[in-house]
């Protein structure tokens, strides 16, 4: 379990992280989501003791990271897949990690296999790795010590779609076995599919948190995209009820919640092939929440820190 407790980190006048608190629970994948520069990386760096907090603290399983002996055996960390000596081979980087943690040599091969880096690739130097290969190596490095907590900063960055699907399965399985996973991203759809819990951060402050249903519960559905076998019939049926309808692509857009459109269709025995809220769901919510904190300091919330 990762517990972030009233964490603040300031750089001079700039507040990178502003009094945030949240918990990443074991057995769950927690997504840490926010636009670039929102404070995700700073928060994760404080978690692993690389950045001292200005105030507040982060504990992992009840301990400060610095107090965990041989922390690689308990907490797997991937902050920046390129932050390795460019002249070392992939295998050498894992070997150094394994030696530091006191792990047997075969562990390196197990991890290489797990992240699908073959023997030839493992012998290449990091500077010749693509970003996707670096991410795979970084994930292998984080998993070396068989930790129970994983902290991954933008792990899907640079992975191809198959790689993202692979990572999703890996982390899901890891959480199902009781592990704690915290992963950050600035791309909602990466996180939406994998995270059980989401923490939305904008400008150093947490703007929303919860699971997908909880986050969407607050979204008002005021417009609907609908497609019927006979759109003309549906248009006249809706118009008869006084509902504004406009053509939209192959379907229609009605300015009422989906439930009202469905009712009209049922009453008139119209067959629908598609019915959904016109709001984009999480993505709109995400943009709305995070842009609010960035561009509208006059909102109800206290003004966040001055932009850098």
């Amino acid at each position: 379990m990762i517990t972030v407790d009233h964490l603040t980190r300031k750089y001079g006048q700039f507040t990178a992280v502003d009094d945030i608190s949240f918990v990443a629970e074991p057995g769950k994948v927690t997504g840490f989501l926010g636009p670039n520069g929102a404070g995700k990386t700073t928060t994760m760096r404080v978690m692993v003791g690389l950045t001292p907090p200005t105030s507040g603290r982060v504990t992992i399983g009840g301990h400060l990271y610095q107090d965990i002996p041989n922390p690689g055996r308990h907490v797997g960390v991937l902050l920046d897949a390129s932050a390795q000596h460019a002249g070392r081979t992939g295998r050498e980087i894992l070997t150094l990690g394994a030696q530091t943690m006191g792990l047997p040599v075969p562990r390196v091969d197990e991890m290489l296999e797990l992240v699908s880096l073959n023997q030839t690739e493992a012998k290449r130097r990091l500077r010749n790795y693509s970003l996707g290969m670096r991410q795979r190596l970084g994930i292998a490095h984080a998993l070396l010590g068989d930790p129970s907590v994983l902290i991954l900063d933008e792990p899907a960055n640079g992975l191809d779609p198959a790689g993202i699907r692979w990572m999703r399965g890996l982390l899901k399985g890891y959480a199902d076995r009781g592990g704690t996973v915290l992963l950050s991203s600035h791309l909602l759809n990466e996180v939406e599919l994998i995270a059980d819990e989401m923490i939305l951060i904008g400008h150093g402050r947490i703007v929303a948190q919860g699971n997908k249903e909880q986050l969407l519960a607050g979204v008002k559905h005021t417009a609907t995209h609908v497609t019927a076998l006979d759109n003309a019939q549906l248009t006249s049926a809706l118009a008869a009820k006084g509902i504004a309808v406009t053509p939209a692509g192959s379907g229609l857009r009605a300015e009422v919640p989906p439930v009202d459109v469905g009712r009209v269709a049922a009453e008139n025995a119209i067959v629908l092939t598609d019915l959904r809220s016109a709001e984009g769901g999480l993505e709109d919510l995400f943009l709305e929440l995070t842009s609010d904190t960035q561009r509208d300091p006059l909102a109800d919330a206290p003004a966040p820190g001055v932009p850098a």
Partner: protein
């Protein structure tokens, strides 16, 4: 993946032990030669020492000059004295210029242990390069002995041996200390060579021109305070005191401030 284990909110650390210091030394030693840059730096120290000693041997034999074992050791000392500081610098700065410090310090948050392990590696590699110098010097003296037995002497006092070991270790430490302070390879090398070659000259001139400065200079000029060490001829309490005081100024102080900085600094990628 079969049955979900009851997730525990706390980490059980009872079975965990800190990373033993020797293991850190082993890892840091490996890091010193597992890249091309590190490997070639180490190898070139050996090659250049060997090359210069071979040239010296050839000149000695051709010119039919008298030679002693200690002469060869002194040549080796001059070269390692220039290259070991660079080794000391690289041991520290490569973590920062290559950004691997983030990983190193996440695996061992006790940063002092990591820096001390690097220091031990620096000393070990210094000893290794001294062995190379001594052995190559021995071979060269042997060749001279065969070519010109009358002109060759095997003279190498224990004093000179001790001086060789101490001055070379201090040279490496000089680079190491400046590197912890600056955490940047290029800047450290420039500052080191200023400290090694320019500052003694400035001190010398200032001492000659300004009367009272000469008294101060003896206490702050580590290079000149170190010179009696080469033949292990520090005499009297005052020379020792000047050696220690100037050593604190040029080695202990930068290392101390550098360590303090490394411990407190945010490790940026």
């Amino acid at each position: 993946m079969s049955v979900a284990a009851a997730p525990s909110p706390t980490l059980d650390l009872s079975g965990s032990e800190h990373i033993p210091f020797l293991r850190l030394v082993k890892v840091e030693l490996r890091k010193s030669y597992d890249t091309r840059a590190g490997f070639w730096l180490l190898l070139s120290i050996g090659i250049i020492v060997g090359l210069f000693l071979v040239i010296a041997t050839i000149i000695t034999i051709v010119q039919d000059e008298p030679v002693r074992y200690v002469d060869f050791v002194n040549i080796a000392a001059y070269i390692t004295g220039l290259m070991l500081p660079i080794l000391g610098i690289m041991l520290v700065t490569s973590e920062w210029t290559q950004r691997s410090a983030m990983v190193t310090f996440s695996l061992e948050p006790r940063r002092t242990h990591v820096v001390l392990a690097k220091l031990v590696v620096g000393v070990l590699l210094t000893f290794a390069s001294l062995v190379v110098g001594l052995v190559t010097g021995l071979i060269c003296t042997g060749v001279c002995e065969l070519a010109a037995p009358d002109a060759t002497s095997w003279e190498l006092g224990l004093d000179e041996m001790a001086g060789f070991v101490v001055t070379q270790t201090l040279a490496m430490l000089g680079g190491f200390a400046i590197a912890t302070l600056l955490l940047n390879t290029a800047a450290s090398i420039v500052v080191f060579f200023l400290y090694r070659f320019v500052i003694p000259v400035i001190f010398g001139i200032a001492g000659a021109l300004i009367g009272w400065f000469e008294d101060v200079r003896l206490w702050i000029d580590f290079q000149s305070a170190m010179s009696p060490i080469y033949d292990w001829a520090l005499s009297g309490g005052k020379e020792w005191a000047q050696f220690i005081v100037s050593g604190i100024l040029w080695l202990v102080l930068p290392l101390g401030i550098g360590m303090w900085r490394i411990l407190r600094a945010e490790v940026k990628g």
